[in-house]
């Protein structure tokens, strides 16, 4: 073997330098991104990393049973990392480093573990290969060359491992033979009786196969989706500590550029995200846009960001302009306009991503660029933007009409230092005839519960949710500042909202603008009132079978899942039926992210998809918790011509019935 050392050393050196160079080329591109604080709160980050990366929590739970296969790979990989390090070091310094130098007990134990783990890995490869070949999942490019190359390399590595150790065992030169069942099987049965010189040659051949494969694997990594082997673990470390239910504000200053229109305008973590994508396709498999045939596919979006970065990286590094546009081009590595506008910001993609890629903020930042720098957006939004700016509501209805959601009673106005809760009615609750019913129902719940509340009447302004999600940050920031100031001037501390979008905006977005509010969704308050005995359900609402639809901005954005369900149970006597996709996996109604104000001409309608899913449970009532959902679900029922048989009720209406 000693004659091979210089050769092996050279090979190793070349491969290592190449690997490091490749890594440098790629990861240095990440540094093109803008600053982003992803190091604070180290202990929590570290815990996240352990749970999600080493625990493979999302991988396993979100894609059973194949997620398990992945965690097998992951753990085999980690263990064999030790084995292969030993292999490489042994190759470089055969006289000095070897497992056999360890104390016998440890040596045997490791030998046993490596042998078994290698076999398990081989099995996992077989499973993965057969799945990809025989039952390819629809949502990913399952039969990609990349996947087969990697699986092939892993299989070759394992086979070479057994070949080498088997030959050694047959030669009798392996001390731990008794502890290596698989290699022993190879050595004692398959290679039994082989001529010695052939066995000696086989050891060498398998050694070289193993060595070359290993180094090939190493060098191939940075160029494949398996780069995630290097990036996934740190990406779990860098994940956002807070739930991603808002986007970062802009600084409006002369000379600044807004949003992301060029790949280096992303923050570095966004770029790192693009390199961490495992292309597993879970995001696309849960995306309402992708599933209804829209241009958006979150996996491809992240892929395009990566490709754009790789394509333009060199130019950007040398301070030159990129030659592949990030937005609007037709080639791979460029994102079409339609893609950006198809997103409902429902957050399903981020909920399932095993490596915590943050899709929605990226989309919003790119929308910002289109709106704020290019003024280029779907035509329908022009009306919306003007209405919001001039009349502070999406429909452009006269602001003086806002206080007129009630004719039967005069709604109390919020009084400084007297009223406890501000009831923030929201545009839909104030202007839309259908949703005014919920507004009234909520006021009755509040009155029955003896809550001290008041509204702002015609002085209420829109919260600006749609503007922010649509990327019109400039106007949103103006509205947010105005609202925060108005709340402060009026001494508002506690707010009840009807609409989950107002809820999220007041609670999470306004913090960036100095809003210090305790924001409650009316369902939260209602349940508190019940628990404290202030509100009692005298009757049961007879609504037949009730199926519940989670609102994205209540559920995924703010983790309110149980409260509405408990209220339904209290009000009707039965817990609601659940759709196939519920709780964290709930499917959007199609109106979020400003989609409410846009045409939906491509593919199927999101609301129809969701209504059909609800109808599978044969409900009498679909209970929703958001004015947008009310509109979308009712529309869907009408389109399917079943609005006579199935009703859509906002939860407040159900509670109100039970209170009567």
């Amino acid at each position: 073997m000693s004659a091979q050392i210089p050769f092996f050393t050279t090979l190793f050196a070349v491969a290592a330098v190449f690997f490091l160079w490749s890594c440098y080329l790629r990861f240095s591109l990440v540094l093109l991104g803008k600053p982003d604080d992803r190091f604070s709160n180290f202990s929590r980050r570290f815990a996240n990393m352990l749970l999600y990366a080493f625990g493979q929590k999302r991988v396993v739970t979100r894609s059973y049973p194949f997620g398990l296969n992945h965690s097998v790979f992951f753990w085999c990989f980690l263990i064999l990392l030790i084995a292969n390090t030993e292999f490489l070091l042994h190759g470089l310094f055969p006289g000095y480093i070897s497992l056999s130098h360890l104390p016998e007990g440890l040596y045997f134990a490791l030998a046993l573990v490596f042998d078994i783990v290698s076999f398990v890995a081989l099995l996992a490869v077989v499973i993965a290969l057969s799945r990809r070949w025989f039952y390819p999942p629809e949502y990913i490019d399952a039969r990609s060359v990349d996947a087969f190359v990697i699986l092939g390399l892993v299989a070759t590595l394992m086979l070479a491992f057994f070949g080498m150790h088997g030959s050694e065992i047959a030669l009798g030169s392996e001390g731990a033979a008794a502890f290596m069942p698989v290699s022993n099987f190879v050595g004692s049965f398959i290679l039994a009786g082989a001529p010695v010189n052939m066995l000696v040659a086989m050891v060498t051949v398998f050694f070289w196969i193993h060595a070359v494969t290993l180094l090939l694997f190493l060098d191939y990594l940075p160029y494949s989706k398996h780069m995630h082997i290097l990036t996934a673990i740190p990406n779990c470390f860098f994940r956002s500590i807070e739930k991603i239910n808002t986007q970062l504000p802009e600084e409006f200053k002369k000379g600044n550029s807004y949003g992301v229109g060029q790949v280096d305008q992303f923050r570095w973590k966004d770029l790192f995200d693009s390199m961490s994508c495992t292309e597993c396709g879970r995001c696309s498999d849960n995306c309402p846009a992708t599933l209804t045939g829209k241009a958006l596919n979150p996996r491809l979006l992240i892929h395009d960001i990566k490709m754009n970065l790789l394509h333009n990286g060199k130019l950007l590094k040398s301070g030159r302009a990129p030659d592949l546009p990030l937005i609007g081009g037709l080639k791979e590595g460029s994102i079409a306009d339609d893609v950006l506008w198809a997103c409902t910001t429902c957050g399903a993609c981020m909920e399932v991503c095993p490596v915590f890629i943050e899709h929605v903020p990226k989309i919003v930042y790119m929308r910002r660029h289109q709106v704020e720098m290019k003024a280029k957006f779907p035509e329908e939004l022009l009306t919306l933007f003007d209405n919001m700016e001039n009349r502070s509501n999406p429909w452009g209805i006269i602001p003086a009409e806002r206080g007129r959601w009630t004719s039967e009673t005069v709604a109390p106005l919020f009084e400084k230092d007297k009223t406890e809760f501000l009831f923030f009615v929201g545009c839909a609750g104030a202007f839309d005839t259908r949703n005014k019913r919920n507004t009234l129902a909520i006021t009755r719940i509040l009155d029955k519960g003896g809550v001290s509340w008041g509204a702002l009447g015609k002085d209420e302004q829109c919260c600006g949710d749609s503007l922010r999600r649509l990327g019109n940050e400039f106007v949103f920031a103006q509205m947010a500042k105005q609202n925060v100031k108005a709340f402060k001037d009026m001494g508002v501390r506690k707010v009840i909202t009807q609409c989950p979008h107002c809820y999220n905006t007041l609670k999470n977005d306004y913090r960036q603008f100095g809003g210090e509010l305790e924001v409650l969704h009316y369902t939260e308050l209602a349940l508190q009132l019940v628990e404290s005995g202030k509100l009692a359900f005298k009757n049961k609402a007879e609504l037949g079978k009730v199926v519940f639809h989670d609102s994205c901005y209540l559920g995924r954005y703010n983790s309110i899942y149980k409260t509405p369900r408990e209220l339904i149970e209290l009000a009707t006597g039965h817990s609601p039926l659940e759709m196939e996709r519920a709780f964290e996996r709930s499917f959007c109604c199609g109106a979020g992210g400003g989609r409410m104000w846009m045409e939906e001409s491509a593919g199927n309608r999101v609301n129809l998809e969701r209504v059909k899913e609800a109808l599978k449970r044969q409900p009498d009532t679909i209970c929703v918790c958001c004015p947008y959902c009310v509109t979308m679900m009712e529309d869907g029922l009408m389109d399917l011509k079943v609005s006579d048989q199935v009703k859509v009720l906002e939860l407040s209406e159900i509670i109100e019935t039970a209170l009567k």
């Binding site: 807004y258 290019k374 003024a375 957006f377 022009l382 933007f385 001039n390 006269i398 003086a400 400039f474």
Partner: protein, 272 residues
């Protein structure tokens, strides 16, 4: 070559209501906006700027607060803006307004040739549609009103082709420059300002021309230069909606007949 676009800041009249009891105007919180027709005039000017490379100057007559409207014009891409504001200009009717605007345009034409003056067909507060023709007459420009499409401009030969929309017909007219063009809302869809342009416009200093600069005879502008006088203002009688064919009529034919009778009696429909 210049395109002058005349814009006016108006109260958002759709938000103005009359108090049925007191007969007074409720316009609390009624914001001022750019006259919607003028927004289309500005857009058309900017579109022609993009296509032919004209320079666009927006002018407006109004109180100092009308600056807002001109800032919007800057944010959208106007090259220059001028506010005509003076105590003496107040209370002007269309005759006095067109006088002042045309004098301002004459001042601008000293330095650069004017290709077109583009106005909105009318304002939403006055609804007169007279200022455009007034300017054209005073400046002796070609007058083209109710334009819903500018088909072609031949700068070399100073000719322009437009499509005008009149009752029941379109007319394709070809005429010479300089021209005053009064546009309809249908002509285009106004663009949206980018944020850097907005920020620029907010900091810009708005040129204001008062009568010290204009030096016009005070009897020809403002209230004194106006030929018309408003004598009285009152609220129109506007009836509430009515449900025809409610309980008392079960037959749709009767309901339809009632509706037709109503419409005919209000002169909204004629049966021939």
């Amino acid at each position: 070559m210049l395109i002058i676009t005349c814009i006016k800041q108006v109260p958002d009249t759709t938000q103005v209501k009359i108090d049925a009891v007191t007969g007074t105007l409720i316009r609390e919180g009624v914001p001022s906006i750019i006259n919607p027709f003028d927004a289309h005039a500005l857009e058309e000017s900017l579109r022609l700027k993009d296509e032919y490379g004209f320079k666009v100057v927006a002018i407006s007559m109004g109180p100092p607060s009308a600056e807002m409207t001109l800032r919007r014009a800057l944010a959208l891409g106007a090259d220059d803006v001028i506010l005509l504001s003076d105590r003496a200009f107040g209370g002007a009717d269309t005759l006095a307004t067109s006088m002042l605007l045309s004098e301002a345009i004459k001042r601008l034409s000293v330095h650069e040739e004017i290709a077109m003056v583009i106005c909105g067909k009318q304002t939403i507060d006055g609804d007169t549609a007279q200022v455009g023709p007034g300017i054209a007459t005073r400046l002796k420009y070609t007058q083209l009103t109710s334009v819903d499409r500018i088909e072609n401009i031949d700068i070399q030969s100073r000719r322009i082709t437009v499509r005008c929309k009149f009752e029941g017909r379109y007319e394709i007219l070809e005429s010479s420059l300089p021209a005053m063009i009064a546009v309809l809302r249908e002509i285009n869809r106004p663009r949206y300002p980018t944020v850097p342009m907005r920020m620029m416009s907010q900091e810009a200093v708005i040129k204001t021309w008062d009568n010290k600069i204009m030096r016009l005879n005070e009897n020809t502008v403002g209230l004194k230069g106006s030929a018309t006088a408003v004598k009285r203002i009152f609220s129109p009688d506007r009836a509430m909606g009515q449900i025809l064919g409610g309980d008392e009529i079960s037959n749709p034919d009767d309901a339809a007949r009632m509706l037709i009778d109503k419409l005919v009696s209000k002169n909204l429909l004629s049966l021939q």
